[in-house]
């Protein structure tokens, strides 16, 4: 693969405090013939073994960046989870670091009460969307955490009851409209 390729991220992982995966996504260039797809661990068993080995290196070692099995690994360990981003050895370290920071900080933004295992599992849909907005098939899509976060929707609240009770009269309708408008405005800010 040429070094000019946009496919710079090989995998995004979220591991728990035992090295088991909470989320794992290994990227392959899409639409490349099967036999040409080399390397990055297509089978789940090998992936999981890799993650275990990786975890042994990252656990309680706060070094953020390292070379592991001929890949560049960026990671950050939180209380009970570790976030990792893996790229090729020839990639620009700072670029990958930015992608990793984008991923990490956008999670920080969307998970209100901080990054931990329970929070990630509970808001898995949002975490997934954030990752999807950061990396697409291995291409770094965005590096600004706020932009990423702005594109992640919250889960829908229960179906809004839009039917108006006309018995309450025009005042009621006005009040309803006003509250809706305020809500929109606040959201807009």
């Amino acid at each position: 693969m040429s070094s000019l390729s946009l496919y710079s991220v090989q995998a995004v992982l979220i591991l728990d405090n035992k090295g088991d995966r909470i989320h794992a996504k290994y990227y392959q260039s899409p639409h490349v013939a099967e036999d040409a797809r080399k390397g990055l661990m297509q089978n789940v068993k090998r992936q999981k073994e890799f993650e275990k080995r990786l975890f042994q290196k990252t656990h309680k070692q706060d070094s953020e960046i390292m070379v592991f099995e001929d890949r560049l690994v960026f990671y950050r360990e939180y209380l009970d989870v570790t976030l990792c981003l893996i790229g090729s050895m020839d990639e620009n370290e700072i670029v990958l670091q930015q992608a990793f920071t984008a991923f990490k900080d956008s999670l920080d933004l969307i998970l209100n009460s901080g990054i931990d295992k329970r929070n990630i599992q509970e808001h898995y849909d949002m975490v997934l969307l954030a990752i999807d907005e950061t990396v697409d098939n291995g291409i770094i899509l965005e590096t600004d955490p706020a932009t990423i976060a702005s594109r992640v929707t919250k889960p829908p609240t229960n179906e809004p009851q839009m039917s108006l009770d006309l018995d309450k009269g025009l005042l009621g309708a006005w009040g309803f409209a006003k509250s809706k408008l305020q809500e929109r405005l606040q959201q807009g800010m």
Partner: protein, 934 residues
Amino acid sequence: MSTHTYKKFENAESGELPDRMTIYQDCMSEFNESPINSKRCRLLISRLLRLLAQGETFPESEATALFFSISKLFQHQNDSLRQAVYLAIKELSGISQDVLMATSSIMKDIQNGSELVKPNAIRSLTAVLDESTAFSAERLLKSALVSRHPSISSAALCTSYNLLPIAEVTVKRFANETQEAVVDLKSFPHKNLVGEYYPNSTFITQYHALGLLYQLKKNDKMALLKMVRQFSNNNTLKNQLAKIELVKLVNELINKDSQLFVDFQSLLMEWLSNKHESVQLETAKLITNFATHNSRLISSELFASAVTTLQSLLTVPRVSAKFAALRILNRISMISPEKIVVCNPELESLINDPNRNISTYAITTLLKTGTAKNITSLISTITKFIHDVSDDFKIIIIDAVRTLSLNFPNEWKTILNFLIDVLKNGEGGFKFKNNIVEALIDMVTFVPQAKEMALENLCDFIEDCEFNEILARILHLLGKEGPSTSNPSLYVRHIYNRVVLENAIIRSAAVVSLSKFALTKNDPSLSDSIISLLRRIANDKDDEVRDRATIALKFIESAKKDTSSEAQTLLQSNYSFDFNALESKLNTYISSNTDSFKTPFDVTSIRKLTEGDIKALDLKRKQDKFTKGEFETSVESTPGMIDDNLISKRADSSFAGPSAHDHQQDLLATKYAEDLMSIEQIKEFGPLVNSSQIVALTESEAEFVVRGVKHLFANNVVFQFNITNTLTDTALDNVTVTCTPEVEPSELEELFTIPIDRLLPSAEAACYVAFKKTEDMVMESFLTNLMFTTKEVNPETNEPFEGDEGFQDEYDIDSIFLNAGDYIKSSFVGDFTKAFDELPNEEVAVYNIKENISLQELVDRLVVNTSCLPLENTQYAPSDSNSHTVKLFGQSASKGTKIALIVKLIKTSKGIAIKAQGRAEDATLCADLVNGLM
């Protein structure tokens, strides 16, 4: 659905996930319900995706059913649900069938959906389209590509990029739009904000557009040059990723055509001081990479500024920048350490960096910059902290110190003291101790001055060493080296102590070791004591120990009677076999067993290596390891996970030193020799004396690639021509190489030629030409010509057409020289100066090279031409100086006589002046070698 499963799944709000079947059933029922409950559906999709991310998978039928149920959710207009649907579509499309069915819903979204979901919809196209349908998205992608909204435009660019392998024709039509997208600075619209975050435009669309544009134009050099010109000025590119992409583009261009470099020099200089660290880094990487291959094209100021940039990156707070800069410096340090000595203060301050990876890189880099001057201070710096770091870190340091000891044998005292200190006082496991012992063994082997002191300390060490493997190795070493020292009895005492105190494994190792002292020449009285010791051991309670002692006694007895007996060689062997050849021979012997092993195994055909040969090979390998930069891979990777990525990286590793491929060539030469010996006519010539390095006789891009190897026998010479037919439609029949001596009359008499009967397209085969020669050294050059009959090949059968008579043709290849170097094998000597002074015959010659080549290239050529081993780290010419001295050592392949060369090189504006001073035991060899240097 039963209430039971329903409950179970409600409880599983977080943490544990319900099983695969439950999730499947829940999804199937909920997604098909009407009206759609968007909250529950998104929750279910989230669970489904979590399950998939765990590595679970669904059978194709279930996956397809899920896929279709999910595509029903398109009816619901909630954006929040829609985003989740797209995620699910992307994940499921890989494992389900008929994913194309979702295309129309997705396309509807791309046209009419909200700005929020449009990018998601566009990006999901990658997953559902295939070769036959990709074109249908053309109009949509094109209009999305020109959208003012950065996310939409980026999504379209990335999708086009992803679709490139299957829809190149379609995507090529976007070339103009892509070009515009590179220069267009798209920012987020201020209206219609959803959610609470305010997006900042990073203009990353430029990066995606540039990446795509490169793919579209990559075969058009002029277009690429234009891209660089157009995008490099006036801050056209705001996004730093895009800028890096541009640096990489320049890198690509200059690697294909190094002459272009000059044009980019000022641009690169500018980029080195770019405000983005990442751009500085990429540029520095480019310059230093390029310098390893084309040092002549690069000005020293530019290289120096690249180093300065890296130096400043070492002091920034950001870890990744420091790490990256260190990685580059570390690679430079393997080739031209003198260039980065300026960074030493920064490197020293990083030794104590809290980040272990950084400190490791810093220390190894620092150690490589070691010169005879600063070694002492470096070592004392390390001594301060080595005891405080973890084991694997210590191992890295020890390895680096070990390399130092080989490269600077004169500094042995400091290094030895350091090693002994860590061996005695360091806490650590087997691997750590083993590494130190190995380093000491290296010193004993390659640095004769350090031998006795190192051995004495190893003796102390075995007094309380808990590792059997290490003990056995040291005992073996003592047996090998001890008898030739000034005070052998000292070692006998230590070894005998082991016999008294240790377990059976160590005892048997000690017995073998002891027996070697029996024939010590320095101290004849020792012999009797050894015999009495061995007699005592012969009553040991362990079988193996007893056996070994008894055999040793027998050997000593017969060796004493007759000094030329076999027992002598068995006690003190001074050669061993070429293990690779031995192994493969033994394998064939065992597998081709026809007479239940009645014919004994024939060892005579296997190359025997004397002590000196082994040392030479060893040292070469170690130096190779050093230049190859295996540090990164060997230290930080565990074996077994090597994939093609790694291999390709090795292959085009831009930092491979001059001798990186030597070892591979060694193996290849062994293989060639084996092929040779399987030919009856050649077998009659007797044992092979020497094989030369492989020399290229054509350009590597020629129609027929020819490489020659010269094989020497006692009274014969065989030229081997390896011919590769690179044509795709022509076979060559009856391929021969004619060799015409340049000077008549020739001293060589041509005996026979073994032609290649048929060389099919893209095949490689060998043709041999054999000569008879006198026993003396014969040096001659031959004009060579490739002769063959071409025949067109039927592409279906891959055979030539019946009845095709073909054309006689010939092809000029370079001359092949039989020179003095071919009679020489590289050899090792510990103290070069002493060895040089002791040799009797001297010869001096002066050359002047007019070609414009660097000193390093000339040194490489010298090493190849003379087949000698460069010693004392002189194989690397300093790039900042105009003179260099190479010390070469070798021995005659047939007679084993020694030869040493000191070659002084001085580079001036007119060329390179060479003064070669050779000394050898054999006067003719010396004269021939020195006079035939170039």
